[in-house]
């Protein structure tokens, strides 16, 4: 059991012990001051062509039934000013994100006013529409978020560790502004094996070992998000950005390279419709740029039956890569995704989703394990197109 697992287990144990042993006075605290919520789900995915060896998200050619997750959200409102929020998670799966547990976030918030709330600790990163609810399946129309922005490219992090300020301005007027600013450290999940392969795809000797998906630690991060709530009920637009340094080997140098990510989004939700679009760009000083964008729409035919569609694209530009490498491995840089889904909502807290996805490019859809991916890429035998069917159940309370 690693340190994170021990912390989660200890926290859960203490929480359960508190509930079990709580005297009458503490029960009052539980009802009025403590809120316990959670979310979870199960997902199945299969790529439809048996000749297609690509994985996409949790889908592969034989079908993967073992992708489960659960998270517990605990909020303690200790006073009008002070609240403590924590969210441990458990996750199991056979591909990409292996079995894991840890903390999504744990932080304290001191409220000076609605306009200024100070947050200290490990806080969900405010970026774009979905980053703060990255894993919550009952808050989106597809089993997974669009990989074009939320894929493992290092564009968005899960949470920052440090200090933040958040608040709402003009909340009582027709135009409202919500803001976040933060500083500290950040962790991002980055699967840049396709980029590593591209740099040596034409080599015949001396190929370096590949690093598989990894969590990278950013230092000295500053960032923020601004959301404008418009007079049209349910419609908002926003912009986000952050910058920091992270240790990678680029251009033959292993050092902390600065990377900056900016984004913009628009979001409209009504009882029947949800229409969302996002664009984000990451750029680092090692001549690397990537753009991701997607559109996502969903419409409820009835209160329970929902149709959904999405389209997204992700393009990578890496300078100093020989033309021969690009000619042989262009698909390693690109991702385009079109998806259609049908969802059945038993309630806002319980939904079954089915979807079909056509993916072009091998940036986020490729063979696994890495050795197989590498061999096919180096031999020019990668399949550029992936068809995936996803079925998932999501719950929350």
């Amino acid at each position: 059991m690693n340190t994170r697992s021990r912390v989660v287990s200890l926290s859960l144990g203490l929480a359960l012990a508190t509930f079990a042993a709580a005297p009458a006075a503490a029960q009052e605290l539980t009802i009025d001051k403590l809120a316990v919520h959670g979310y979870g789900g199960w997902s199945f995915g299969r790529t439809t062509d048996n000749l297609n060896t690509n994985f996409f998200l949790f889908a592969h050619q034989r079908g993967d039934y073992f992708h489960n997750e659960f998270a517990l959200n605990v909020t303690a409102q200790l006073s009008d000013q002070l609240s403590i929020v924590a969210q441990p998670f458990w996750h199991s799966g056979h591909h990409a994100n292996q079995t894991a547990s840890g903390m999504d976030y744990v932080f304290g918030e001191w409220k000076f006013s609605d306009m200024a709330r100070l947050r200290l600790g490990n806080v969900k990163q405010p970026f774009g529409i979905y980053t703060e609810v990255f894993d919550v399946g009952t808050l989106r129309p597809f089993a997974a978020l669009s990989q074009s922005v939320y894929g493992p490219s290092g564009m968005i992090g899960k949470s920052y560790s440090g200090v933040g300020l958040t608040g709402a301005l003009f909340a009582d007027g027709p135009l409202g502004i919500e803001y976040d600013v933060y500083a500290g450290g950040l962790e991002t999940l980055e699967e840049d094996t396709p980029l590593q392969m591209l740099t040596q795809i034409t080599d015949t000797v001396g190929r370096a070992a590949l690093n598989a998906a990894t969590t990278r630690t950013w230092r000295d991060v500053i960032g923020g998000r601004l959301i404008l709530r418009t007079p049209l009920d349910g419609f908002s637009v926003g912009t986000s950005g952050y910058t920091g340094t992270r240790p990678v080997t680029r251009l033959g140098q292993a050092r902390d390279w600065r990377r900056t990510v900016v984004g913009a989004h628009a979001d409209y939700t009504s009882d029947a419709w949800s229409l969302r679009g996002e664009w984000a760009r990451e750029r680092d000083e090692a001549n690397f740029t990537a753009d991701g964008s997607y559109l996502e729409g969903a419409y409820r035919l009835t209160t329970r039956l929902q149709l959904a569609a999405t389209w997204g694209t992700f393009d990578t530009e890496v300078e100093n890569v020989p033309a021969a490498n690009l000619a042989k491995g262009k698909s390693l840089l690109d991702h385009e995704e079109t998806g259609f889904g049908v969802n059945y909502w038993f309630s806002p807290n319980f939904v079954v989703k089915t979807s079909y996805h056509l993916v072009t490019g091998n940036r986020f859809s490729h063979p696994d394990p890495t050795t197989r991916f590498r061999n096919l890429a180096y031999n020019g035998q990668l399949v550029n197109e992936t068809n995936a069917v996803l079925v998932s159940v999501h719950l929350s309370f």
């Binding site: 703060e132 919550v136 009582d172 409202g176």
Partner: protein, 142 residues
């Protein structure tokens, strides 16, 4: 002329909305609360915790009714202009982003009235026919 007709229709719809808001439920606050009226938009933001203090700077304590309650349905459609499921999704977003938790819930009008009577900063709503006890007063929705 056409513009005037459109304006008259919009005015009629606005008045109808206000009548509906006032006829199907009553918004209640503690008798000590100096507020006498609130706009629909403000009330919606109070119940979504986007506004968390009264004009006298006292913190707002919101009490809601259960999601199966008919008065909750009427209140949600009239004040939030949404279905209850949409409001529930809004709260999921707030909870899991670590930003806010939903208001406390009381199962009946009587429980809401007792809560409001005992809490100077509270605001709730009850069925239009409910008798208001001492310590509770109605808040006009404009």
């Amino acid at each position: 002329m056409r513009t005037i007709r459109v304006l008259l229709v919009l005015l009629a719809l606005a008045v109808a909305g206000r009548v509906e808001a006032q006829s199907s439920f009553v918004v209640v606050v503690n008798e000590s609360n100096p507020a006498t009226s609130i706009t629909r938009d403000e009330l919606s933001k109070v119940f979504l915790k986007k506004i968390t203090v009264w004009r006298n700077k006292q913190p707002v304590v919101v009490v809601d009714q259960g999601d199966k309650s008919p008065v909750r349905l009427q209140f949600t459609r009239s004040v939030h202009r949404r279905e209850i499921t949409s409001v529930q999704s809004y709260w999921q977003q707030q909870i899991f982003a670590g930003r806010a938790v939903p208001p406390q819930v009381r199962a009946t009008d009587a429980e809401v009235l007792a809560f409001v009577a005992g809490n100077p900063s509270a605001v709730g709503y009850v069925s239009a026919g409910a008798a208001l006890p001492a310590g509770v007063k109605p808040l006009t929705v404009q």
